[in-house]
């Protein structure tokens, strides 16, 4: 019994911590070169009609306060460094949600001279929400997917960012 109690404490603390993470998600929004369609849908998700505050989701301005980075749009060459910097400014544990077709594959902007590629080539992404643009319901569903992954203790997505040299010139 005494040998097990530190483990038990650890389990209880882990449970409480996971529960708190699941129920309090603060997001920061980053536009890495989107056409603004997805951004408007994200704003629609935050309006009273959909009200994500009932799930504990709040939009914050500072990456230091946030748990989830919501990225929209393909990563342009100019936004690339800023995206990495914003991601690195967030405190651990942090998660990335990539919203819209462009952020997943480059979309209609794929192959443009100024576009570097998708978001997961730059930072590790946890949840992909496809759509052009995705409806607010789809975005909420994506958040629920993220919560389920967290609950199941699924390991973080292992996609590693490419080095800058590998980008098409």
């Amino acid at each position: 019994m005494t040998a097990n109690s530190p483990q038990l404490w650890q389990q209880v603390i882990d449970k409480v911590r996971t529960w708190a993470r699941l129920n309090s998600i603060w997001a920061v929004h980053f536009n890495s070169g989107s056409c603004n369609g997805c951004d408007i849908e994200i704003l629609a998700t935050l309006t009273p009609r959909y009200d994500v505050e009932r799930l504990g989701v709040k939009l914050y301005g500072s990456p230091r306060h946030a748990d989830v980075l919501i990225v929209t749009g393909p990563v342009t060459r100019q936004a690339r460094e800023r995206l990495i910097r914003t991601y690195e400014q967030m405190p651990e544990p942090k998660f990335v949600v990539s919203v819209g077709s462009c952020s997943i594959s480059g979309g209609v902007f794929d192959g443009c001279y100024n576009v570097g590629g998708s978001v997961d080539e730059v930072i590790p992404v946890d949840v992909y929400i496809p759509g052009c643009p995705p409806r607010p319901e789809a975005i909420i569903d994506g958040i629920i997917q993220l919560l389920k992954d967290l609950q199941g203790g699924k390991p973080r997505s292992a996609v590693r960012p490419n080095v800058a040299a590998e980008l098409p010139s």
Binding site: V16, R17, W19, A20, R21, N23, S24, P48, D51, E53, R54, G56, Y60, G61, S62, R64, H65, D67, Q89, P91, E92, P93
Partner: protein, 307 residues
């Protein structure tokens, strides 16, 4: 036994656990009421608790340029200041555990400690958003502090005592909101300015300056500042309802009166849009301070002629 009693005072009631839980409850109530007024569902009842635990479990990043002692010490000072103020107010309607002549001034000083810590924290982190937020925070402190103090001084003058518990006893037989409605309004709006709630949230205007003075804070530090603000809300509500709304006699009257005040504050948060910082200062010094000064003069004259 005495040590045990002190530990109980510090850790359970009125400082410590009771205060933290009350602070979280009032923060949730405030958010829920604002959400309902905006036709939303609003957060669930355990939301502030989940936020606090999550922030505690997060990494705390220290920017390379800051002074580490100030960076880690200021949140603690803010939380400690707000919690200490709870020792002198009739929290939950019970007699305050510590009371002496002039504790009104001490309480008001302790209540402005979190704001000063926020200002210093913003200056310390040297990020441009933090510095602007800190400047606005301190500017606003100078704007509302004097009218708020004068508004609480009115009941103290009438009761003839600067001791919170004695004013509370006096207020139980005199509903001072009826004789000093101006002071009540100024105290209520001053409390909103103190807590940087929506009409007066220029110091943390997220559309302009990200998160104001706390932009660089994450994890534990942010949680302590937020908790300090919630506790300030509870203490401020207790103070204003004890002074103006007929005193606090027990848990029932405490809950009814402070929640009534909170509903009023939530209505005003929903009704008004954010003031610019110069509008805030102008409102307080051109209007708030003058009307409340006139009321103080009237009270002094009345007391002089009718002893």
């Amino acid at each position: 036994m005495n040590t045990l009693a002190s530990f109980f005072t510090i850790l359970i009631y009125p400082a410590g656990l009771t205060l933290v839980l009350l602070g979280m409850f009032y923060e949730w109530l405030d958010r829920k009421l604002v959400a309902r007024f905006q036709n939303r569902v609003g957060p669930r009842w355990f939301q502030p608790f989940a936020d606090a635990v999550k922030l505690l479990a997060k990494e705390q990043i220290r920017p390379g340029i800051v002074n580490p002692y100030l960076f880690f010490g200021l949140p603690v000072a803010a939380l400690a200041g707000a919690s200490t103020a709870a020792l002198y107010v009739p929290l939950l309607g019970f007699a305050p555990p510590s009371s002496f002549s002039g504790d009104l001034i001490v309480t008001l000083y302790l209540l402005s400690l979190p704001t000063m810590c926020v200002g210093l924290a913003g200056w310390n982190t040297t990020s441009r958003f933090s510095v602007i937020g800190a400047t606005r925070s301190l500017t606003q402190l100078f704007a509302y502090e004097a009218p708020f103090l004068l508004a609480l001084l009115g009941p103290a003058l009438v009761a003839g005592s600067w001791q919170i518990s004695e004013v509370n006893e006096f207020a139980q037989t005199h509903w001072l909101i009826l004789t000093q409605p101006v002071g009540f309004l100024v105290a209520l709006i001053g409390l909103m300015g103190k807590l940087e709630l929506p009409p007066f949230d220029a110091p943390e205007a997220e559309t302009e300056i990200v998160a104001g003075a706390l932009t660089e804070y994450s994890g534990r530090g942010l949680m302590m500042f937020k908790l300090g603000k919630s506790i300030e809300l509870v203490v401020g509500l207790t103070l204003v309802s004890a002074f103006y709304l007929g005193g606090l006699t027990g848990i029932g009257s405490f809950l009814i009166k402070s929640i009534a005040l909170l509903v009023l504050m939530a209505v005003m948060q929903t009704l008004f849009t954010r003031f610019r910082i110069d509008q805030t200062v102008g409102l307080w010094w051109r209007f708030g301070a003058i009307v409340v000064l006139m009321q103080i003069v009237a009270i002094i004259l009345w007391k002089g002629y009718m002893p």
